[in-house]
Structures are given as C-alpha cells and as structure tokens.
C-alpha cells in the first residue's frame, strides 16, 4: 500500500504511514517559519481557490478522477454529478467572498488562529474539505486528515490546488496525510501544536479529539445531525399536495439521507385528519417511487440488511404494540407512528422516514429539547403566520436552518453551518 503525503506544495508517496516522529519534525519546521511569513490575504487565497473551480470546469481528466473517488460511496449518479457541480460553485470567488462578507460583515483586523487541524468524518467522501477551505481563506496553517491513504477526494483537490498555485501563495499552508483514526502517537503529537481543531464525526470521534487538547486549542465540532420536517394543518390545507409531496420526496431521497441536513423524522400536527394525511402519504409514496427512477438508490448488501432489520423491527412494533403503521415501496419505507411524546427516532437512512404526531409547536420543541444536540435543519409546510413562532420555538432547541421542503439538502455556499461560520471561529478579530 502507498501513502500520499501533501506538504510544501509537493505530493510524496511513502510505503509506510506517516509517523509521529516525521510529523513532529514537520510541525517544528512550520513553527520555525511561522513568524517569518506574511499572512495570506483572503482575496489572494480566494483567487487561487477560484482557479480550482476553473480547472474543474475545463478539465475532464479531473472530473473523471473525482468520479472515481465516488466508487462504493453509495451515491447515486445524480448525487455524484450534483456534488461535483456544488464543489465547483463553492470554490467560485464570488461565493467565497459572499461567505467572508456574511461571516464578518465589514472588513476588520482579522488574524488567523494559527495551526488548524481538520478531521473529517470517516463515512463521508468530503472528509472535512469545506472546513479546509475556510481554514485556507482565513490564512491559517492547515493540517488535513485524509480519509484514506491514497488521499481520496480531498487529496485530489489538494493536488489540484498545488498545480494551480503557480505563485506559491497557499502551498506552504497545507499539509495533508492519512493516519489510522485513534493513533495516539500521531494525535497526541498533533494536539500539542493546534490552535483549532475542526471535528466532523460521531460522538466517539468528537470525545476522543476533545480529550487531552492543549489549553490554547479550541474545538469546533460538527457532529452527526438529524434533519426534521414539520407539517402544520394550516400548511397542509393550503398546500398543493403533489408539489408538496414532490418536494418532500426530493429531500428524503437526496444523498439517501446521508447528509447532515437530510430529513429523518417528519412531524405532522395531530389536528390533521387521518384521511387527509393518508391521502397525502399515498401521493408521497408515488413521488418516492418516481424519485427512485430519477435518482436510483445505490445500496450495497450491508445497506439492504440495515433496511431489512429496521423494517422487521418496525413490523414487530406494529404487530405487538400497535404503535405504528408501516408503508413500503421498493426503495422507501415510512413508519407512521400513532403517538409521540418526546425524542428522535433514528432512521436507518436509505429513504426510511419516521412520521410522528405533535400537538403544537411548544409540545414539539419540548419533546425534542433533550435531543437538541442532533438538530440542525428543519423543513416545513406551514402557513406564513406560523413561521415566526416556528422560528422562535425551534431556535430554542438548536435548529439553525429553516426552509421549505425541497431545499433542505441544498443550502447555499454562503450559509453558516450548524448555526455559525467556521470562518469566525478560525480567526481572531482584533479590536483597537
């Protein structure tokens, strides 16, 4: 096996994983030159990153290489090409400038935090890439944990960056390599140098990284999330059911629910009559079938087993306790719960949705309060009059983005993530 190391603008290939000894030496070298080098201005960084976007447009070779990174990632062809287009749009200078402006407002005395590590979630192909981009434009020295020894998609983009950065603006500020997650020798070495660590991952990864951090290190955490949807009676009464169903089916089907903004649980106001809800669910089922034609799910055997397990346990719940009714299509599953008081019910993903009744928004917020750490995006179908109280209630329980159905999976590139801009957290604002 070969291990790619990206540093000082070059790609190195080793037959052994990067060691803690090598890491310490490299970080000491960076520290030695840290005070000698000028901070890269955001505009300069943005301009170089923009060249990658241009390269993605013009280079079919790069596009082909990126597609090969998606092998076995469980993404439909639709999602694959969407991801590439989204990445390109993300890197456009206009988007990155808008992002900077939304984060900071007017220009000020903004300094980089210093040494930033980006630890991506092991189950995603982006592997902390979006955080890395923030780290780059904010002038930090960035250490990226690659998702696999050959670099994967992030490695590809780092290489692309090295190739377009002909004037060596950013090359010295990026250092990327793979190590086995939990390798204490590497991680303890790294932790001594960090000013920030951006963690994308599950609870175990987050807790592991927060342990033994140095005093100066701040952790920026992006843990797993559970997207929720809300349908009120007023909203459903005034909605065009086919359009609503199509939008919701879109949100359920995108990324096969693997994204942090993917809907897993839908809350429907209990005032909605049963036959009205059933009518809507029938249309939703048809739309989910249609989505399976537009975006055929890519599932391996393990995915199929997870769906099977979840379906059978739910069927047993239906038979033994009578607490839900299950609807199924070939590519989707819906569990309609008869009662709900509190808590999130995890979905096995792969277009598997739980629908729960709620009495009113306060009841909903109270019921989700203990699980607020997992909340981020809320999709809605509600009347305009209800939106203000929805924002107020849901804002108290950690919802950081509210949008109509159909847009849950498509935030804009300049939106904050998990309620904040990492740009602000990766920098220091100096006051006079």
């Amino acid at each position: 096996m070969s291990y790619k190391i990206f540093k000082t603008g070059h790609t190195y290939l080793q037959s052994e994983p990067y060691s803690a000894v090598e890491l310490k030496k490299e970080l000491e070298n960076v520290k030695a030159r840290y005070f000698l080098e000028e901070v890269v201005a955001p505009d300069q960084a943005i301009e170089v990153l923009g060249r990658i976007a241009a390269l993605m447009e013009s280079s079919s070779f790069l596009a082909t290489q990126m597609v090969s990174c998606f092998d076995n990632a469980g993404l439909s062809k639709f999602d694959q090409s969407y991801l590439i287009r989204t990445l390109r749009a993300y890197l456009l200078p206009s988007n990155l400038r808008a992002r900077w402006k939304r984060a900071f407002g007017v220009d000020g005395n903004i300094s980089p935090a210093g040494f930033v590590a980006h630890i991506g979630a092991s189950n995603t192909i982006l592997g902390g890439l979006d955080g890395l981009i923030d780290g780059i434009i904010s002038g930090n020295f960035n250490i990226l944990k690659l998702p696999k020894p050959d670099g994967g998609l992030p490695g590809l983009l780092v290489e692309a960056l090295f190739s377009v950065d002909t004037t060596n603006v950013l090359k010295g500020n990026i250092f990327a390599f793979w190590w086995k997650g939990g390798d204490k020798s590497i991680e303890l070495t790294l932790k001594q140098y960090l000013d920030r660590v951006v963690i994308w991952g599950g609870q175990e990864a987050v807790l592991s990284w927060k342990r033994d951090l140095a005093m100066q290190t701040q952790a920026i955490i992006h843990g797993p999330k559970y997207g929720v949807g809300v349908i009120t009676k007023d909203g459903l009464d005034s909605a065009k059911l086919p359009e609503l169903a199509e939008s919701l089916a879109w949100d359920i089907s995108r990324w096969d629910q693997r994204a942090c903004n993917s809907i897993q649980g839908l809350f429907v106001e209990s005032k909605v009559p049963g036959d009205q809800l059933n009518q809507f669910l029938k249309i939703l089922g048809n739309q989910l079938d249609a989505m399976a034609n537009t975006m055929p799910p890519i599932r391996d055997n393990d995915d199929c087993v997870e769906i099977l397990k979840a379906r059978e346990v739910a069927t047993a719940e239906e038979i033994i306790n009578g607490s839900l009714v299950q609807f199924r299509g070939e590519s989707w599953t819906i569990n309609l719960w008869r009662r709900w008081s509190s808590g999130l019910i995890p979905s096995c993903l792969n277009r598997y949705l739980h629908i729960m009744p709620f009495v009113d928004l306060r009841h909903l917020a109270r019921g989700l309060y203990e699980d607020r750490i997992w909340l981020q995006t809320l999709g809605y179908c509600a009347s305009p009059d209800e939106l203000s109280s929805m924002r107020a209630c849901m804002g108290k329980i950690g919802i950081s983005r509210i949008c109509p159905f159909g847009r849950m999976s498509t935030p804009t590139g300049s939106d904050p993530h998990d309620g904040n801009y990492d740009l602000r957290l990766l920098t220091c604002v100096m006051s006079d």
Binding site: N301, V305, K309, V313, I319, I320
Partner: protein, 390 residues
C-alpha cells in the same frame, strides 16, 4: 413469572442421555438419526417435526401468528416441494428488541442472553423440555463428531467462569461440552478479581497451561479464540512454543474473526497456531451457534461446519430475500423444531454464509461456511464484549 430451572449441568446431561436412548415423538425422532444425516428419510422426519413445532408456535405466539398471516403462510405450505423456504422467519434484532418470555405459560425455565449489539441483548427462555433437547443435540453432535472421550483431560476455559457469566449462552455451552470428557483440572480465564470486576487472567492462564503441558494429559481449550491467541503469544514469550500433549483439542465458540484486524490483513488462525504451538489445524474445532438458535454447528477435522440434523439452513439474497443455491453467499436463515418456549422455528440471522453439498471428511450432509457479519453496525459477540476486560 418464570421459575428458575434448578438443575446441575450433570443432571442435565443425564436427562439428555435418557432422551437420546428413547427418542419418542415427532420432534424427538430426529435424535434417532446420525447427527449430520440429511437424506430423504431424515427430511420427512424434519418436515414432520417442523410441522408440529410450527403449529404450536403459531398458536402460542400472537406475533408469529400475525407474521404468518402477513406472509400468507399456512401449515399446508409444508406439503409443497420447497416447504422450508415458505416458513416465515424472525430476524434476530426483533428478539433483541422484544421480550417474548411472557407469551408462554409460566413454568420452569432458564434465561439465556446473547452478547448484545450496541447494548441490546436477546433474552430468550428455554423451558425444561427445550433445554433438555438442546443439550441432547449438543451431546449427540459432539459424540457423532468423535469429540467425546473417556480419557480425562485438563480444561482451560478462555471464557467466563460460571459466577461471572451473567447468563451468557457461550459460558453454559462451554461447560456442557467440557463435561463430555472426564476432567482432570480446570481453569477459567475470565473471572471476578478481588475488586469484583471481571478480569482476563492472562498470566494465570499461561501458567496453568504450562503446568498442564508438563503433566502430560490431554488439554482441551474452550471459549474464545481471541483470548487463546493472547495466551499463546504470552506463553511463547515465556516458555517457547506450546507442546500440547497428544489428543489435545481446541473446542472454541468463535470470536476471532472480529479481531482479525488486530492481527493484520493476512492473519490466518491456523498458521498462528502452527507458529505458536504443536496444534494441527485438525485439532481446532470451532463451533457456530446463536443464543436465538442454540443448536451447535461443529467443525470437523477439515475445519468445516457440519449442519446438524436438528437444523436446516437456507441462504437468502439480502436484497430480495430469494433463497440461493449452493455456494452462493447470502444471509443465513436457521430452522429448528427443538425449542418451544419462544418463536424459534425460523430465525434469519445477520451473518453472511453459504452452503456446500459435501465435505472431504466423508460425513454426510451439507456444510455451512461463514462469510462475515452483515449490516453497517456490525454485531458484537461475546468475544468483543469480553475484550473490554483485557
């Protein structure tokens, strides 16, 4: 409320032997066959036994009855050619989520637990008759496999001591198997320490093994291979390669594949044994079973799992659940008529495997090969849970 079934392992074995000597009734008739017989006469008997068991379980367990109705299964389906494939199955996570112990009329029973996945454990109850049948099956399989012996041996348990087992199915099985041969001495590697915490007594196990080797009587090792590998490694550092006396055997209950990554991608358990001891591959006889289907599949000297005559195995394609042919890999479904105290006739596991028609050892009947665990959240088994004590 179930009453604890007050028994000693020895008395269980006695009652199991009595059943084996006079196997009467549609279910017990299976004990009259050689343990690995799967011919046409056996199939008729097995079908009759399953019919009896299914009628009983459909009547007693409302969940199973409803499931059968949903899958349009009736007892008349058993008259068709592919009768076994039509039997509705219960997937193991259902037995982890729901407790069926209340469905059966109160009586005497013993609870057994699986090791759990993400903290969830199956809890099943074996009533008196089911327990005796299960033990009888164990005795018959090991005896017909040539693994019961009259020569006394030392017993090294790489598993839980009885007081530390907390109902773990593996512990009871290990002890029962150990009683098929007179015991000269025994040692349990997983037990309570002075602070009341469960500990892996590795150094003590190494020293015990060394004493047994010196004494010279055959040694039998039971329990988890993962722990035995650690003991072998430690033994080699201290005393060199282990020279097992003749007729020594390892009668393990799985628990090493999950740790294969600890040993590297090219790890081979048989090579490991050869490098660290005098044991040949034929002396390692692993076994496969689940708490939800406590019928043991034991390896022959060619290290193949022979399907016992108390079980039937169907392999299913994970997407469509279509039954697969020989040598095609899919989800393992296990059927048995032996147990009456929970809906046990037909269990769909989340293990991948495949069936082959014959084995070079010459014993009749098909063999099962395992091909890994299925699902994203891989099931923990006893060995993984116990590993936390290392």
């Amino acid at each position: 409320m179930w009453q604890a079934f007050d028994f000693s392992l020895e008395s269980l074995l006695t009652r199991a032997s009595e059943l084996l000597q006079a196997p009467e009734g549609p279910i017990n008739s299976l004990f009259a066959y050689f343990s690995f017989e799967h011919g046409s006469s056996w199939e008729n008997s097995f079908r009759g036994a399953m019919k009896h068991s299914l009628e009983n379980q459909i009547e007693i367990f409302p969940y199973f009855r409803d499931l059968a109705r949903r899958k349009r299964f009736g007892i008349q389906n058993l008259d068709a050619d592919n009768w076994a494939e039509s039997i509705p199955w219960i997937i193991t996570p259902v037995l982890k989520e729901f407790d069926f112990t209340g469905s059966v009329p109160d009586g005497k029973g013993v609870f057994i637990y699986s090791s759990g996945t993400s903290g969830k454990r199956s809890k099943v109850v074996l009533d008196e008759l089911s327990l005796i049948r299960t033990v009888a099956a164990l005795v018959k399989v090991y005896t017909d496999m040539g693994l019961a012996d009259t020569e006394a041996c030392h017993c090294l348990f790489m598993g839980y001591a009885p007081s530390a087992a907390h109902g773990a199915a593996s512990a009871g099985t290990d002890q029962l198997v150990s009683l098929l041969t007179p015991q000269r001495s025994k040692f349990f590697a997983l037990d309570f320490d002075a602070n009341g915490q469960i500990k892996f007594f590795k150094d003590e196990a190494v020293n015990y093994l060394h004493d047994c080797v010196s004494e010279g009587s055959p040694i039998r090792v039971f329990g988890f291979l993962h722990f035995f590998c650690k003991v072998l490694s430690e033994y080699n550092k201290k005393f060199g390669k282990v020279k097992f006396p003749e007729k020594s055997l390892v009668l393990s209950g799985g628990g090493w594949k999950e740790f294969a990554s600890d040993y590297g991608p090219s790890f081979n358990i048989y090579d490991f044994f050869r490098d660290h001891s005098s044991l040949a591959a034929s002396q390692l006889r692993d076994s496969y079973s689940l708490a939800e289907h406590p019928i043991l599949f034991v390896q022959c000297e060619n290290n193949r799992f022979h399907i016992p005559s108390f079980s039937e195995v169907i392999i299913r394609e994970p997407r469509t659940l279509k039954p697969l042919d020989f040598q095609q890999i899919g989800l393992i479904q296990l059927l048995t008529p032996l147990i009456s105290s929970y809906p046990s006739c037909s269990i769909l596991t989340t293990d991948f495997g495949y069936i082959e028609r014959t084995c070079a050892c010459g014993r009749p009947g098909p063999i099962l090969s395992l091909a890994g665990r299925a699902g994203k959240n891989k099931l923990a088994n006893c060995a993984i849970v116990a590993d936390s004590y290392i």
